[in-house]
């Protein structure tokens, strides 16, 4: 499957990207597995707090991700 990942806030600072497309061999994976893969790729993300949205809806760790899905990595922002 090929998916689009979008990064916001501090996470975009860590990845140096706002968006990227990744292809995986699996047809579907749960959010938890994607989270591990991405945190392996960008180690500094491991010490941060963020929520994950699939196709514009916040999801839990069990939500299944499939081909063409859009995944957003959303940290809380602090500033005001």
């Amino acid at each position: 499957m090929t998916i689009t990942l979008k990064y916001f806030g501090l996470l975009a600072d860590i990845t140096h990207l706002k968006e990227e497309q990744l292809t995986f061999d699996e047809e579907t994976i749960p959010v938890s597995v994607l989270k591990s893969k991405i945190e392996n790729r960008y180690q500094m993300m491991q010490n941060t707090t963020y929520s994950i949205a699939v196709n514009q809806a916040m999801s839990g760790l069990q939500t299944a991700i499939k081909d063409q899905d859009e995944i957003a990595f959303l940290p809380p922002f602090a500033g005001g």
């Binding site: 957003a72 940290p75 602090a78 500033g79 005001g80």
Partner: protein
């Protein structure tokens, strides 16, 4: 008595009319934070004729604020933001009832400050305070219009609106000391909080007037640099609501917390689970006071040490006579710690107790 001339341009909108303008006049809105977000919120709410506004901010105006906090000018530097903002609101619209709270929003004053308001606008810059606001608002069932910023991006949402989800539903709190930077650390382009604060003011007006679709259960993410917006849907998380409700209720129901502890209260607090007790005297000072939660951090080292602590961490400070621990407490409170106490008259007052 509505000043029809003043508000005519908005009153001719069928969605508003005289009824709507009256709703604005009767509304009671608390704006927590009079900085980057707070300034545009206050300007717009005052201009629209919101009748009762509370402003909470313990800070003073600094020159580095002026590029984005447009209620302030050079002559205001060094003066309380809440006071200057109050004056600015009154100049814009003398009929608004404004109360300025020249203090930071903390667990100690939350219950008292929140009392009279129907809508909270979260214009703060520290995540610990946002959770505090969440908890009190969930317990009191008051909507919170939220926004936050990171460099060129911003988030906006409305929590606790008609049984909608809360801040904790969106961002469950993590234990541990993850640091999330604010504008001082990451930087921000001045227009950004001005845009987001205006979005917040828009949501406040929609809530008061009961028009349009409020951003409840939706997180708006705004990217100024690429002019992109996303709306992410999120749902209530019952556990998160429960946690907020419990925390908030505890806070609202406890008697006014006395942060200057008597010897008896001090000794009791030292045994509290999870408390951190800090001796701010020099390492060689006596008499020693030891205990399982007690550590020695001389006052001059406290600032560095405190950076490692979670702002929700409850802390008890003590010194010889209470002077240094008072200073330490004031410093930690100003830094955003929400539960700080000190032994009012110092270790000397414990002589008869130990």
């Amino acid at each position: 008595m509505i000043n029809i001339k003043r508000y005519s341009r908005q009153m001719i909108l069928p969605e508003i009319g005289e009824t709507g303008q009256q709703k604005l006049q009767d509304a009671r809105v608390l704006v927590i934070g009079a900085g980057g977000l707070g300034c545009p919120v206050l300007q717009n709410l005052a201009a629209a004729g919101v009748g009762n506004i509370g402003i909470v901010d313990g800070d003073v105006v600094e020159e580095s604020n002026l590029h984005r906090q447009l209620l302030y000018s050079l002559k205001d530097c060094g003066t309380s933001k809440a006071e200057i903002a109050k004056n600015a609101v009154l100049e814009l619209n003398p009929t608004v009832n404004v109360i300025a709270f020249t203090e930071f929003f903390t667990a100690q004053n939350a219950a008292e400050i929140f009392q009279e308001y129907q809508i909270i606008v979260d214009c703060t810059d520290a995540i610990a305070v946002r959770y505090l606001i969440n908890d009190v608002a969930v317990a009191k069932r008051i909507p919170v219009v939220y926004a936050s910023i990171h460099k060129f991006e911003g988030q906006v949402s409305v929590f606790n609106y008609k049984n909608g989800p809360s801040y904790r539903c969106l961002f469950p709190e993590q234990e541990g000391l993850n640091v999330i930077p604010n504008c001082v650390e990451s930087g921000v382009l001045g227009v950004l909080p001005n845009t987001l604060g205006t979005f917040q003011a828009t949501e406040v007006l929609k809530i008061i007037l009961g028009i349009g679709t409020v951003l409840s259960g939706k997180l708006l993410i705004y990217d100024a640099l690429h002019f992109q917006t996303q709306i992410i849907a999120f749902e209530k998380n019952p556990k998160a609501i429960e946690k907020g409700f419990i925390n908030g209720s505890l806070l609202l129901n406890r008697k006014k917390i006395e942060e200057n502890l008597t010897p008896k209260a001090f000794l009791e607090k030292c045994n509290q689970l999870g408390i951190v007790v800090i001796d701010v005297r020099e390492l060689e000072d006596t008499p020693k006071f030891e205990g399982k939660n007690v550590i020695q951090i001389p006052l001059k080292l406290l600032e560095d040490y405190s950076k490692k602590l979670n702002k929700n961490q409850e802390i008890v400070l003590f010194c010889q006579t209470g002077q240094r621990s008072q200073a330490a407490m004031n410093y930690l409170k100003k830094s955003g710690f929400v539960g700080v106490f000190h032994l009012g008259k110092g270790i000397e007052s414990l002589k008869n107790q130990i």
